[in-house]
């Protein structure tokens, strides 16, 4: 994370004038507002923050901010963010996207980003559906959810992203709800502040293809206990809750990944010496 700036920006200063493509009532509006608020609360400067995304409704978010952004290909936000952060450790780098982007096509990168524990924040706006392609089952969709591509339901067990993140070595695991702007902003700010790979799963309803998710606002609640630093305990809590407990669920103290650095730099001529006969 960067040093706080002298010029204090308000949450609105982090929002651009580009009109989102999202449907009215989409949860992602709330996530955008929470993120802007978190960046303002951390007194970050928009030119020192980079939002990296893949493809999907939620991946359109970077252009709706005044930060630097990279809207890349489907599923590859995490490696792109990783390369950027390693090359430019001075920047605050936040990867974000949806459940299809992060858990299906990008699933392998999710595992390895958790393992690698680079100082990144990863926000997944999870609505249990592929919205941009008009309503197919995602890795977090219930197996019996009827849809045109897999009539009668996809018949496959949903993915457990928070437990997978824990098992893979993420240093910070939290669940938030898009309708709770203040709570989500606090969690995002804490994720950014925490060194290492911080994973924030945000329940973000798709009111177009999953209108029943409007009920989520009645189902969510703060987790009954605070964060633990014991991954086994956190995993047990997550596996046994109903998926609606909100808050920071795990916060560890793993050292972030740092590539080896060399104190005394060599010149190219020094390097070429090994070729000489």
């Amino acid at each position: 994370m960067n040093a706080p700036s002298a010029i204090v920006l308000a949450a609105k200063d982090f929002k651009s004038d580009t009109k989102p493509v999202w449907c009215p009532g989409c949860g992602d509006f709330g996530v955008l507002t929470s993120l802007a608020r978190a960046l303002a609360d951390l007194s970050l400067r928009s030119e020192e923050v980079v939002l990296v995304s893949g493809i999907g409704c939620s991946s359109r978010l970077p252009a709706y901010t005044t930060c630097y952004g990279f809207h890349g290909v489907h599923g590859r936000a995490l490696p792109l963010a990783t390369g950027l952060k390693i090359a430019r450790p001075d920047l605050t780098v936040i990867a974000l996207g949806g459940d299809g982007d992060g858990y299906s096509i990008g699933g392998n990168h999710f595992l390895h980003a958790c393992r690698r524990n680079v100082d990144l924040t990863y926000i997944v706006m999870d609505n249990h559906v592929y919205g941009m392609t008009k309503g197919q089952a995602s890795p977090t969709t219930e197996p019996d959810w009827d849809n045109p591509l897999t009539p009668g339901g996809i018949g496959v067990r949903p993915f457990q992203p928070l437990v997978i993140a824990l098992a893979s070595g993420a240093n910070f695991v939290a669940r938030a709800f898009s309708g709770n702007i203040v709570g989500s902003a606090e969690i995002i700010a804490e994720a950014i502040r925490t060194p290492g790979f911080a994973f924030v799963e945000i329940l973000s309803p798709c009111v177009t293809y999953r209108p029943e998710q409007r009920q989520w606002k009645e189902l969510v609640r703060p987790a009954p206990v605070g964060a633990t630093d014991d991954p086994a305990r956190a995993a047990r809590r997550i596996l046994t809750d109903d998926g609606f407990n909100l808050g920071v669920l795990y916060c560890g103290s793993r050292k972030p990944y740092q590539p080896q650095t060399v104190r005394e730099k060599k010149t190219l001529e020094d390097v070429a010496r090994e070729f000489r006969l």
Binding site: H71, P79, L277
Partner: protein
């Protein structure tokens, strides 16, 4: 890089073969280094089966008192440390009547397929000799035997062995003893394989592989971030770069796959750090979607594809030039990008450095098509000359106006903002976009950005490096990559037979240098197109992208067999007589 062209090369070709793990590569590398230290030129290529241990392996050397850049037509000496799997090399190690096959009859007999008519057979009891030396190994006996036949001095061989075993000093004394015993065993053999006296060398000479040369070229070009996933035969490039880039203040990341590797490189480059990914065919296939992203988002990035035989897993350890099509045409949509190819081990340095400069200056991905033959061949070369390439990334500066990342400029190149720069924030996007970078699905924006991206690479002056051109003649060989060395040698031999042939080796494949190639071939009546693919990919590319007044004929062969000088010479002579 060729100097002092001679009508024919007086060279000795040696194959040292054995099962994987028997030490043939170590023996070959010491022999090459000893010859180099003694003042000779030479090269050593590697060929092996897919096994790590126990399969078949061969070190293929060619030594001379003049520079050699490719294999000859056949091998003068075959030294078998054992006979395991040797028959699988029958086609890769052609022998002639004058050749000598030396090996241990206590371990068996040479396979029928290797026995060239009249080739001499010499029983070299490697195992028995090695047993007389505590910790002595048959590969070192074979090395001493080969060195004696070549007339290599003791001092050079010992110096090379000392360098090779620097990290394992306990292996040096037994190796030196085994080498001496091998020398003694050679006393019974008479042959014509003695290298001539080496001319004293004054200039600085280097000993390196194409993979190392490409890695060094990338660093010279300014690359300070590398990402990769292990893949034969590109792994050595990554392994060479890993400590080297750290020493000069950069980073190499091992990615979870090639999809990640290319995106890590794009991310680093977006952050202002010149970046590269190295891979081979299967990994390159995985990278193509994101190369399209780099085209659309205009992010400089370099990918080195060390080609191996394909499709699919193909023959991972052996060379081919058949990734030309995917490198040129493998990106979806209209996605103009740079494709360049080095034409020798030393040229891997220049071409990769050039690729970095082009990518940076034009904000576009550049693909470097190297191959296993160049990548894994270790060669003695003159120190490559310093070359200055024009081309730096153009950075934006805030002027109070709304920043247009993809502004339509006369050159097509738009000044690039880098995160951290205030007042220039934008979102790089693979979606089609307006000049500001905001997503657009309007026809006018698509047309404008397609034109911009095409114009910026087609209107630039690529300078003199687009091809290497040598000689004059009504007939020309038009080739690329590792086919260049045998073509050059064939042309030298044709000259001695009274036939003048021009050589054009294309370094810039995309954008196609149409006018320059047409000018280079003006007055040429016949063009022999030489490449190592099954379907004639290069010939098809030439017919599709270029216009020829001359008659074209294709000489194309798939890997793993290299095009040999004799093959090209035959084709030239047959055609010229018609």
């Amino acid at each position: 890089m060729m100097t002092a062209a001679r009508p024919t090369l007086s060279s000795v070709s040696i194959a040292i073969t054995g099962s994987g793990g028997s030490g043939v590569m170590t023996a070959g590398e010491i022999l090459l280094e000893a010859a180099a230290l003694a003042g000779f030129y030479g090269l050593m290529g590697r060929t092996s089966g897919p096994q790590i241990r126990g399969g078949e392996a061969a070190a293929l050397l060619r030594l001379s008192d003049a520079p050699v850049e490719g294999y000859g037509d056949g091998f003068d000496l075959l030294i078998a440390v054992d006979w395991a799997g040797l028959e699988r090399f029958a086609a890769e190690i052609p022998l002639a009547a004058q050749s000598l096959i030396a090996g241990d009859s206590s371990l068996g007999e040479p396979p029928q397929s290797m026995a060239a008519p009249g080739a001499r057979r010499f029983d070299l009891p490697l195992k028995a000799i090695a047993k007389t030396i505590p910790a002595g190994r048959p590969n070192m006996v074979a090395l001493g035997f080969a060195a004696a036949l070549l007339g290599l001095a003791d001092g050079a061989l010992e110096a090379a062995a000392r360098r090779s075993f620097a990290a394992e000093s306990d292996r040096l004394a037994p190796s030196v003893a085994a080498i001496a015993a091998g020398r003694l065993a050679a006393a019974a053999v008479e042959g014509p394989w003695k290298l001539p006296l080496a001319t004293p060398r004054f200039g600085e000479r280097w000993l390196l592989t194409g993979n190392e040369a490409a890695g060094f070229g990338a660093l010279k070009g300014g690359v300070r971030f590398v990402a990769g996933y292990p893949i034969t035969p590109a792994t050595e490039m990554l392994e060479w770069m890993s400590p080297a880039i750290a020493e000069i203040g950069g980073t190499l990341m091992q990615a979870e796959d090639e999809l990640a590797a290319i995106n890590m490189a794009i991310g680093a480059s977006y952050g202002g750090v010149p970046a590269l990914a190295a891979t081979s065919g299967p990994g390159f296939s995985l990278m193509t979607e994101s190369l399209g992203l780099a085209v659309a988002a205009e992010v400089p990035v370099v990918v080195v594809d060390v080609m191996r035989s394909g499709p699919s897993t193909g023959i991972p350890t052996k060379s081919e030039q058949a990734d030309l099509n995917i490198a040129l045409y493998g990106l979806h949509g209209d996605a103009p990008h740079i494709v360049v190819a080095p034409n020798s081990v030393a040229d891997c340095l220049l071409t990769t450095e050039w690729a970095v400069k082009l990518a940076e200056a034009l904000q576009v991905p550049a693909v470097v098509l190297c191959d296993q033959l160049m990548g894994q061949t270790r060669m003695v070369v003159e120190r490559p000359p310093e070359t200055t390439f024009a081309g730096e990334r153009r950075f934006a500066s805030a002027n109070g106006e709304a920043y247009r990342r993809y502004a339509l400029t006369p050159s097509g190149v738009s000044p690039m903002a880098i995160p951290g720069m205030p007042g220039l924030m934008y979102t790089a996007d693979g979606l089609e976009h307006s000049e500001r970078g905001t997503p657009s699905s309007q026809a006018k924006d698509h047309a404008a950005q397609l034109d911009k991206r095409q114009n910026k690479i087609e209107s630039v002056d690529f300078g003199p490096h687009w091809a290497m051109i040598e000689g004059e003649g009504e007939i020309a060989v038009l080739t690329w990559g590792s086919c260049t060395a045998p073509a050059r040698e064939a042309i030298a031999r044709a000259k001695s037979l009274g036939l003048a042939v021009k050589l054009v080796s294309l370094r810039l494949m995309s954008p196609a240098p149409r006018e320059r190639l047409a000018a280079a071939l003006a007055g040429t009546r016949r063009v022999l197109v030489v490449e190592q693919t099954h379907s004639g990919q290069f010939a098809r590319y030439l017919r599709a992208e270029h216009a020829f007044d001359a008659e074209l004929r294709s000489l194309s062969r798939p890997g793993p067999l290299p095009l040999r000088p004799g093959d090209i010479l035959d084709a030239l002579m047959r055609w010229s007589r018609r």
